[in-house]
């Protein structure tokens, strides 16, 4: 029987109801929700957020399937109108929503006989044959049957006109409900084998206790008897203190009973649930929680799956059902891989298990997390920032964990992980921070404001990458604040007025990395997502509770009611402590959204690969690498049993591949009419991956050979993209385009615009903008249909990146560029492509995403930077969201913030996970507001400022000119230093004075001016320049900083001193060197980390021992010229070097290409161009630049 798909949908759709029912009963407000309530409900929140209108209108066809809180109850409307509507194309929803409701009958899988059966070699299918297939164009049996499966009940309910009654009915008659499931076996995907738990546990669970009813369903038998609820999320000591503090403020003594009760039994690092069932259930049911548990549970017994809400076993079982059988095993059999897929939604969806478990699964890029205790894992992966951990020296502050609770819980299981690293380099700021609380802050500020004479202080570079400044907040707030890796502001003290900001001459903006892989993330399943009624802000740690029942929004200051449901704290299972809910304890949380947040049922993950197979493409040999990577990673593509894939190749014609299940081999269908592209057979080109796995594998293994002898040199990229768009528009998804040359045929054809003689011109660079708006329009269409386009450009010739990149830029895709890719001549590139694809194919992905950034009243968003489409003043539409893209936002201060002391920013990312769950990830950042110019300077975050300036400069260079942009960058330095000088009175007039917080600013700006994107006078290919620009705009801060100012280390004398101890690995920590040839020596070997490239530069007279022990060559002369890795030797030096290099590699999403360079002229330029402090033929040295700035200032 098992009807896995169905059960899971039951969970998602009906899970709400018990609560609703319970809540209603609880409050004696039995409110039979009528559909007529809808308009009224909408009107509540809407006026302030008119953007929601379209959505609600789309919903009109949908029954309100039980929004738990009707206005009658006086609860804040939970989300009647989804705050973020992924879809703006009006008819979109209608299209899809009407279909699932229909009986599956009308959309039978078309008989295979209809598909043209042609041998793969045949070309030119009869164009006249096309109409024959067109009528089917929207029949997609697989997805629709699935969605009927998911949503069918809703729709049928609607048609009956009494949706809610029916739900109630079902609630009270579980058997009937189960019967219903079984009545629809035909709707269920054939994944029955996977539901481990379904038969074991009844699907429907009833509210067993008033409390549990608020948080989804606990099994009635389990609820009272379950292990004492143990707050995993906010575990032991510090947090405890914090909570108690809050309790005292709130004067709710009775909670004191509860908390110890909850906390007592948890000295062990378990994942406790919120309303948790014993683990073994979760474990059995939900295979992946095992994987997750491994990381955390070092003490085998006592495991409890953390559960925030919706109840224990059933959802687990349900989720288990919806997962592809192959997916789960692979997910935890290879945790070291970047298991992009949402194992997440499964695990977490089931009950927000080990908030960590899935993230450590997906945190992916770092080998072997499964055996690593979480802390180590975290500190290993984390980029070295984190003001959450003030006691740690910057080099080791690497926990990306968004939840400062980790810090708080150091006394608990986290402590051992951190402490070893917290000793080595105590500096003033860390010490003062370690002193804790507010007392440390003034010292920090003094330090940050210490005037530095840049002309005299030569070595301004700290020995380890600089940490972001800590906002001057009370320690409570600081602990819960968002991780700087996720959310960072250029000024960690927000100036009170625009005038003050103008005086400081620093840009105000945010840098976001909202979807990055996290090691720990509280996932909350709750029926009511508590949000401000006027501005729709999600409740967050920085709101204030006026009393038990009211909270004040920290962004718009509206006073809201606390809904009844929120009064219950799933952590302690006690009632009446809303301020202890996980939402209020963590600044990064993820909600499982209800159907209020959907415009249409979650679509399956759909991946389409569009590949250039022209002669030029075959020459490069990329197809082999691609098909190989695909074959390796097919099973790891994030998705569930509904995942679909398709392939499309093109040269001067477009080739489709029919992979319908049941065929003996893939069929190639060729469409040669590129002026009017049509889809030859609409339903068998995107196939269910699981069902057609064999055919897909067949195709992938034969594809590289198929075009070996092609003589076709043209490339009809535009028509191929149009075809892809048509193919994907029903579901949305991801299109990966592989292109190796300039498109020369059909729509979107381009001409070469680059004049090689102008590459190194000092004059203005032309053609930075797109040549045609074809790609932009296509991207906007794609974005409207939720299709993200990723571009892999592997061209050795000019391919007009400026135009092509538009297809990714506006559809929220990513751009990859492999200059002069050749499988044979360019091994390093080949390796890099292979590794990149590995990450690309398996990384997490979110579909149909929108991100809204809200900020405290008075602040407003001015400009966005990144890959997306801006849909309204604060809303970004992201067809796909990936964990490796960053965003930047410029802000302005519209109204004075004088009446507030804190400014908050909230980024909410609503997306559909690859498992078909709608989720909302919310990050909240809180910063102090200051009225003094000196405070503004003290809080300046020089790295964030640099990144934001880079984004602004790139916009400027495209809209105006490169030289304008460069001047603007220099002016930014001049202006800010001038502002500081005129502000301070105690400065000596001589020299170039900068506050310590900004002492690296001139260096970074100089480095920016020497980047490929912005440099002049050095020969730079237009495509490389444009790609560099794309990277600046879409990479997260950490990666951008590495590109701007590479890290240089000397590695021939690595020692264990001050090394990091990770997971039985010792990672030496050599100090950072300044980027000047002066720091290089012929006797040494140096590693330079430039973000996407790592260089190991070996000096001429390098220590023979190093060459022998590490490089495995007898002497310098015998080092081969094309080494791309450090050989695995059994010597200590080799181990240290490899540990260090792999540690560097792990700190980024896409492994960097590794080059070993000898000190000879041929490889010199590659390496030396990154030494930004040195003079180059066309650019200043650092010292000259300082003099230049000084000169400008004195003008």
């Amino acid at each position: 029987m098992s009807t896995p798909g169905y059960t899971s949908n039951l969970n998602s759709t009906y899970g709400v109801n018990p609560t609703q029912n319970g809540a209603a009963a609880l409050h004696h407000h039995p409110h039979p929700p009528h559909p007529p309530l809808q308009p009224q409900q909408r009107n509540g929140p809407d006026p302030t957020h008119p953007a929601m209108y379209p959505a609600s209108s789309y919903y009109s066809g949908l029954p309100q399937q039980g929004y738990p809180s009707g206005p009658a109850q006086g609860l804040p409307a939970p989300g009647k109108a989804p705050l973020m509507n992924a879809d703006y194309s009006g008819n979109y929803y209608h299209k899809t929503h009407s279909q699932p409701g229909a009986p599956p009958g009308p959309y039978p899988p078309p008989p295979t006989s209809q598909t043209p059966t042609q041998p793969p070699s045949t070309t030119n299918p009869p164009v006249s044959g096309a109409p024959q297939y067109l009528p089917q164009s929207y029949q997609q049996p697989v997805p629709y049957s699935m969605s009927a499966n998911y949503y069918g009940q809703h729709y049928s309910a609607t048609s009956q006109g009494q949706p809610v009654q029916q739900q109630y009915h079902q609630l009270h008659h579980p058997h009937q409900q189960q019967q219903q499931q079984q009545q629809q076996p035909n709707l269920v995907p054939a994944s029955s084998g996977t539901t481990l738990g379904t038969p074991l546990y009844p699907i429907v669970s009833y509210p067993s206790a008033p409390g549990s009813s608020q948080y989804g369903t606990l099994r009635s038998s389990q609820a009272p008897a379950g292990p004492p609820p143990i707050p995993n999320m906010m575990p032991p000591p510090t947090q405890n203190a914090l909570q108690q503090q809050q309790q005292q403020q709130q004067q709710q003594p009775q909670q004191q009973h509860q908390y110890p009760h909850g906390n007592g039994p948890t000295p062990t690092p378990t994942q406790q649930g919120y309303g948790a069932p014993p683990l073994h259930q979760t474990a059995t049911v939900n295979g992946q929680s095992n994987a997750g548990q491994q990381h955390y549970d070092q003490t085998p017994p006592a495991p409890v799956g953390p559960q925030y809400g919706s109840a224990a076993p059933s959802p687990g079982a349900l989720d288990g059902g919806s997962r592809p059988p192959s997916g789960a095993p692979s997910a935890h059999s290879s945790p070291g891989h970047q298991q992009g897929g949402d194992s997440s939604s499964t695990t977490t969806g089931s009950a927000s298990p080990v908030p960590n478990s899935y993230e450590s699964l997906e945190g992916g890029s770092y080998p072997g997390p499964s055996s690593v205790p979480p802390t180590n894992d975290a500190s290993k992966q984390a980029p070295p920032f984190g003001y959450n951990y003030p006691t740690m020296p910057p080099a080791y502050q690497q926990n990306p964990a968004p939840r400062p609770d980790t810090t708080a819980s150091q006394g608990g299981y986290n402590a051992p992980g951190y402490q070893p690293y917290s000793q080595p380099f105590p500096s003033l700021s860390q010490l003062s921070a370690a002193l804790g609380g507010l007392s440390g802050v003034p010292e920090l500020e003094v330090e940050a404001l210490r005037p530095v004479n840049l002309l005299q202080e030569r070595s301004i570079l700290p020995p380890s990458p600089p940490a972001p400044p800590e906002p001057n907040l009370s320690s409570d707030l600081r602990k819960v604040n968002c991780s700087p890796d996720t959310f960072r502001c250029t000024l960690s003290c927000i100036p009170q007025t625009q005038a003050l900001l103008n005086k400081a001459r620093l840009p105000l903006g945010l840098l976001l990395h909202p979807f990055r892989d996290l090691t720990q993330l509280p996932v909350i399943t709750s029926n009511t997502i508590v949000r401000c009624r006027s501005c729709r802000t999600y409740i967050n740690p920085f709101v204030s509770f006026l009393d038990q029942r009211r909270w004040k929004c920290n962004l718009c200051y509206r006073v809201n009611d606390v809904p009844d449901e929120f009064m219950y704290n799933p952590v302690t299972r006690s009632y009446g402590e809303p301020h202890k809910r996980p939402e209020v304890q963590n600044s990064t949380v993820e909600f499982i959204a209800s159907s209020d947040y959907m415009l249409r049922p979650p679509q399956p993950a759909v991946y389409l690969f569009v590949m250039d197979v022209s002669h030029n493409a075959i020459e490069t040999g990329y197809l082999n690498v691609l098909c190989q990577s695909l074959l390796e990673n097919l099973e790891k593509l994030p998705g569930d049993s509904r995942t679909r894939v398709g392939f499309l190749t093109f040269d001067s014609t477009i080739h489709f591949y029919n992979l319908q299940e049941g065929l003996s081999q893939p069929q190639m269908l060729v469409v040669s009419d590129i002026n009017d592209v049509f889809i030859p057979t609409p339903d068998s080109l995107l196939v269910n991956l699981k069902e057609s796995m064999e055919l897909v594998k067949d195709l992938l293994s034969s594809l590289p050979g198929m075009f070996m002898s092609t003589r076709e040199t043209h490339s009809a990229l535009g028509p191929a993209l149009q075809a892809a768009y048509k193919l994907m528009s029903a579901t949305g998804g991801r299109v990966s385009v592989f292109q190796t040359q300039l498109p020369t045929l059909g729509a979107g054809m381009l001409q070469s615009r680059e004049d090689p003689n102008q590459r190194s011109s000092n004059k203005t660079v032309q053609h930075l903008g797109p040549a045609t708006d074809f790609y932009k329009k296509l991207a906007l269409d794609c974005s409207g249909q939720q299709i993200g386009v990723d571009l892999f450009l592997l061209s050795s010739q000019y391919a007009d990146m400026a135009s092509l990149a538009c297809m990714s830029k506006y559809s929220a895709g990513s751009v990859f560029y492999y200059q002069a890719f050749h499988h044979h001549h360019n091994q390093a590139q080949k390796v890099k492509l292979h590794k990149d694809l590995q990450r690309y194919l398996t990384r997490k992905i979110g579909f149909e995403a929108v991100m809204r950034i809200r900020c405290t009243k008075g602040l407003s968003i001015h400009t966005f930077h990144g890959n997306f489409f801006v849909r309204s003043t604060d809303l970004l539409s992201l067809a796909n969201v990936n964990p490796d893209s960053g965003f930047a936002v410029q802000m302005s201060i519209d109204e004075s913030l004088a009446d507030t002391s804190l400014a908050c920013f909230q980024a909410a990312l609503l997306y559909t996970s690859s498992k078909g769950k709608r989720r909302i990830r919310v990050h909240t950042l809180c910063l102090p507001v200051v009225s003094q110019l000196s405070d503004v300077f003290a809080g300046a975050d020089v790295q964030a400022i640099t990144c934001l300036l880079a984004n602004m400069a790139i916009d400027r260079s495209i809209s105006s000119s490169l030289s304008d942009a460069r001047d603007a960058l220099v002016n930014a330095v001049v202006d800010s230093l001038e502002a500081f000088r005129s502000n301070g009175s105690n400065l000596q007039p001589a020299g170039l004075i900068a506050p310590a917080a900004l002492r690296l600013f001139p260096l970074y700006v100089l480095a920016l001016l020497k980047q490929k994107a912005l440099r002049t006078g050095v020969s730079t290919r237009l495509d490389e320049r444009l790609f560099s620009m794309c990277e600046f705009k879409s990479q997260p801060l950490r990666q951008v900083m590495r590109m701007v100012h590479p890290d240089l280390y000397r590695i021939d004398n690595l020692t264990e001193q001050g090394a990091l101890h990770l997971n039985e690995r010792v990672v030496p920590q050599p100090p950072l060197l300044q980027l000047t040839a002066e720091k290089l020596s012929r006797e040494g070997a140096f590693v330079m980390d430039c973000g996407s490239v790592l260089f190991l530069w070996v000096g001429k007279c390098c220590n023979e021992v190093f060459i022998r022990d590490v490089l495995g060559c007898p002497n310098y002369a015998s080092i081969p010229p094309n080494m791309t890795e450090i050989p695995e030797l059994e010597t200590a030096a080799s181990e240290r070097s490899r540990a260090f290099v792999s540690w560097l590699q792990e700190s980024r999403a896409f492994p960097a290409a590794f080059y070993i360079l000898k000190d000879d002229p041929s490889s010199k330029s590659n390496f030396f161009q990154h030494l930004v402090e040195d003079r180059s033929e066309s650019a200043f040295s650092y010292y000259e630049f300082l003099l230049h700035v000084q000169q400008q200032m004195s003008k």
Binding site: H49, P50, A51, Y53, P54, Y88, H767, G769, P770, A771, T772, D773, K776, L780, G784, S803, Y810, S860, I861, H862, T863, F864, F869, V870, R871, S872, T873, L875, S892
Partner: protein, 144 residues
């Protein structure tokens, strides 16, 4: 009383000027809707863009007619706007067909502010010139 070519020009421009005023009001509303989140930039920009070329050509027609009619003062008043229009038209983004109001950049606060201000200024200009044309028309009709 003379129904001269100039008088005819003024009558025609009066009508067209009313049309221009409506165009501009439409633009103002459109940008306001964008700012207040009512509309999606794609939906909004397409019609807005569609009005740009008609507006420019109508205004160009004014100038042409006034030149033919020898109404140098009126022409002089319109010349600055004509040049502004030409400048905007020829400084559009390099990717061709789209004149302005690019949906991907219109949400940029600077650009939106600029567009709004531009629309208000044009509204003022067209309103004033409407009355000026009215006056001139009557003047041309009654004078000998």
């Amino acid at each position: 009383m003379a129904f001269t070519f100039a008088a005819f020009c003024y009558m025609l421009t009066l009508v067209l000027c009313a049309a221009l005023i409506f165009f501009v009001i439409w633009q103002i509303i459109a940008f306001d809707e964008l700012r207040t989140d009512f509309k999606n930039p794609i939906d909004q920009s397409n019609p807005t863009r569609a009005l740009v070329v008609p507006e420019y050509s109508i205004h160009g027609l004014f100038c042409l007619m006034f030149m033919c009619a020898g109404e140098w003062v009126t022409l002089g008043l319109n010349i600055p706007l004509l040049f502004y229009h030409l400048w905007r038209f020829f400084h559009r983004p390099a990717d061709g067909s789209e004149v302005m109001y690019d949906p991907v950049s219109v949400m940029n606060a600077d650009i939106l502010n600029y567009c709004q201000k531009e629309s208000w200024c044009k509204l003022g200009f067209y309103l004033l010139s409407f009355f000026y044309y009215l006056y001139s028309m009557v003047y041309a009709l009654v004078s000998f």
